[in-house]
Amino acid sequence: MKKSLFTAALLLAACQQEEGGNASASDSNGAAPRTGAESGPTKTNLLQALGASQEHKTLAKAVETAGLTRTLSGAQPYTLFAPTEAAFGKLPAGAANGLLAPEAKGQLVAVLTGHIVPGMVTAADLGRAIERGKGKAQLATVGGSDLRFSKDGDAIVVTDAAGGQARVTGTERLASNGVVHSVDGVLTGK
């Protein structure tokens, strides 16, 4: 067991080196990565990337509560616009806890899937799309709603179907099965 943990830690360290510049991914909370994918730019999958990030603890818990762990650790690629701890802190009092309550799973899935886009859209891809769209781009989420993207100076602003907004913050985290972009707001779609 110890040996496998050690191997896993080595793998994680190797991944972080490959990722380069993604310093925030190194703030591991001790969660050992499970099986790494065999291919791709990194061996960490989306679930592991979330688990290793201090600023996505609530989101990681939400993903687990919603039953989405296998989705984010599977082979299919997704782009995750990941609300940070600060983003959950901006919700009305009690809303974050309410979302994580066992009886709110349906709503939690709806909120989370509104942050997930099929495929791997890197920050560069998003930037190019906004440029091509004369300042706007639109991405369909797996939850059924669309997210609209625009630029405010250098920052990318994401707007949900109901007009709720958040900013893409920090550096993207590339994973074997997608990419994580941190956002400073929870897009509740209403």
């Binding site: 989705t71 309410g98 009886e103 349906g106 209403k190």
Partner: protein
Amino acid sequence: MRNLVLLVGTAALAIAMPAGAEKGGQGGGHGQGGGKPGKVERGSGHGGGGKPAKMERGGGHGGGQAARAARPHKAERQAFRAERPERRAFRENRRAIRDERRHDQVVHRSGDDRRDFRRVGRDDRRMPDFHSGARRFGGYDRFCPPGLAKKGNGCLPPGQAKKLFARGQRIERDRFEGYRVPAAYQSFYRDTPDHYYSYDDSGYIYRSDRGSDLISAIIPLLGGGFGIGQQLPAGYDAYNLPTQYRDDYYDTDESLYRYGDNAIYEVDPQSGTIEGIVALLAGDLNVGQALPDGYDAYNLPMDYRDEYQDGDDYNYRYADGNIYQVDAKTQMIQAIVEMLA
């Protein structure tokens, strides 16, 4: 006589399929218990190419139980036969699924029509309509006490089965007296000058227009639609995954996989409970259609980026396990060039 055969066939199908699934045995009520059960046989005409079935727990328990399940108890058969609305609901459910599949096939639309079509499609997806008649819970009712199982409402005790409303119907306010939207949802579904929200522990929150009382949205909660920890709704007895996901997720003794509401669910074969979501699908792209809104950005996985780059002639987009080639000028989706799974 033919009718009688059909009736018995339908009854056997309804009762035997979940049982067959549970044991990894063959659905359809063939009564084959002894052989090697497998997921490939379960699929209804989805072509071969599957892997041999996993039998982690061995086939020891297959024979007797599967055979028993395939030949339902006389009383059960009679009960099923007696409940005509139930049978009708079963048939309607199958028809709905067939219609849904047809809907997924290529439809040529253009301009505004296409946009409207897509918008409606996405709205429907967000608010799945499980309101067609009585809700039946996929035959898993047999785990209920016998009296409740007959009701076909997911083991709800008498008096707790609630009337379900559909979008566009006028809400009956008196039915919701004494109920409040659960605390966990109140911050998301707070009344506004235009709308108010109602909940009656039926598993749905209803949003109604303040002026007309007409229901404008139905939000499924735990107990309505799909949710982790709840029973799989009716109509999902058969393995139904899109082709590109079949190699990754196939039925075993430990888990069943079902596609519905743009997600693939892992289901516990014993209880019929949804245990997790293993894949989320967008369900937007089809060959022969124009690229819908929402695919502005290049989104291919890293491994495929060298081979398929956006250019003057073609663009490439990923969705639901496939890479699609799109004509750069007309934005028509021309082909699936890769299936990733």
